[in-house]
């Protein structure tokens, strides 16, 4: 088994090559209460920063998605303090002013792009800040769709913007006011409420187990 040396919060450990940062920490004896969630790259709980020997860059990634490398200096950022002012979506207008009045620090962006470099999801974070500044809410929503709210951009931002809260508000405004209504869903909900499917459902419920299994196997499947 090949081993690599990593430094977890300054202390060196020999760990097997090929582990993720998260597995390596557990291998080294850490029990992760915070800084660990879905282990699948979706929840954003395991934000981690690291440096590599001989490289000035500070890298940022998710511990559950990133393999260890020899000479890695690792620290987790289990939580990023970030201000989110209270708001009622129903009282808001889907305009740039809304974002700027709730998050005035947006205007402090100097376009340094540090946020983009910090994003483990490889989002164009700075472009999203810029879209927010010019009130292009659909663009913000589009650019940040894959944000996992890990907070790494927020931790690195010299303008102290609370990015993920801005993105969440932009997506809410976009969803509530700017995207077309899903009329087919409304129609289907009305049909369900009106009992259109009741007979079919009752028929299914009255089947015995074997008949139900047979019906399941014989069901139509979209290819």
């Amino acid at each position: 088994m090949n081993e690599v040396t990593v430094f977890i919060m300054g202390k060196g450990y020999h760990v097997p090559e090929g582990l993720t940062i998260m597995k390596a920490m557990e291998y080294a004896g850490y029990r992760l209460g915070r800084g660990c969630g879905c282990r699948g790259g979706y929840c954003g709980a395991c934000a981690t920063v690291y440096r590599l020997r001989g490289d000035y860059r500070l890298y940022a990634d998710l511990a559950c998605q990133t393999p260890v490398q020899d000479g890695m200096y690792i620290a987790q950022i289990p939580f990023t303090p970030a201000e989110r002012p209270p708001y009622q979506l129903a009282d808001l207008q889907p305009r740039g002013e809304t974002l700027l009045s709730l998050f005035p620090e947006l205007a402090r962006c100097v376009a340094c792009n540090t946020c983009t470099k910090a994003c483990p999801q490889k989002l164009e974070v700075m472009d999203a800040v810029q879209a927010a500044l010019r009130g292009d809410i659909p663009q913000v929503a589009e650019l940040t769709f894959d944000c996992v709210s890990c907070g790494l951009c927020t931790m690195r931002c010299p303008a102290e913007i609370s990015h993920h809260h801005v993105w969440q508000l932009a997506r809410r405004l976009n969803g509530a006011y700017l995207t077309p209504r899903a009329l087919h869903v409304q129609k289907r909900v009305q049909e369900v409420a009106a009992g259109v499917f009741k007979a079919d459902l009752d028929a299914l419920l009255s089947l015995g187990k074997d008949a139900l299994v047979a019906a399941y196997k014989a069901r139509e499947i979209e290819s």
């Binding site: 740039g96 100097v110 810029q130």
Partner: protein, 274 residues
Amino acid sequence: MKKLAYFPGCAMKDQARPDEAGTLHALAALGYEVAEIPRWNCCGTVHSLAKDDLMRHVGPVRNLIRVQGMGEKRVLTLCAMCYGTLKRSAQFVREEERLARINAFLDTEEDFRGGIEVVHLLTLLRDEVGYEKLASRVKRTLNGLKVATYYGCVLLRPREFAVDDPDRPEVMERVVEALGGAPVPFPERMECCGAYLTVGRSDIVTDRVGRILRSARGSGADLVVTTCPLCQFNLAERRPPVAPTLPVLYLGQVLGWAFGADEPANLFPLGGAR
């Protein structure tokens, strides 16, 4: 058609849309193929007064790198603020050491090589199109409408970045003239509107705007034009209740109208001008 890289700036995509629409219509009629630069960011709006302001040039220079990436040598802005910050940064990085520091910081972009010229709509109309050609291409004349030309501060200050003589500017008057209007150079045309005090001390802005509008009306103007989105907002939205009911339009709106753009309802009093 002559290709022209264009930096809109945030206001042109938000409250100043009518300015952009009118200007782009006129520029197309004047033979320009305007190409918006890709992935542009905010110009920074207000230049830093700090001595050590290198960080504040990162955003503008990033935009200049985009222009360079298009293979263009110059970039057009319509907004007085964007013009100021981009022009300053283009100047700032003429010193090699500064350019090297900015390029070292911008390690995810191609190196900026300098040499991008920043032009404002007004300087383009004056220096390249020319007033005569402008006048000869106009489709609808302002027909003697009295237009107060409001410069505000940023277009003319500081001197080294001014679009015209900072004490006796005339470029906006000449453009209005070319469109068939009668420019009204009024005493307060270079006074500051109060700018960003509009956020925290709008009372000061209201006081200044009142003076500016009374001065324009006193000089006989039917209309005020400006090229700065912040001036336009302050003059239109922060006026005192007793101020003259002078309309305040972007120069671009008037240009667009003169070149036959569709006439939005808010272009009073131009409707009666032809």
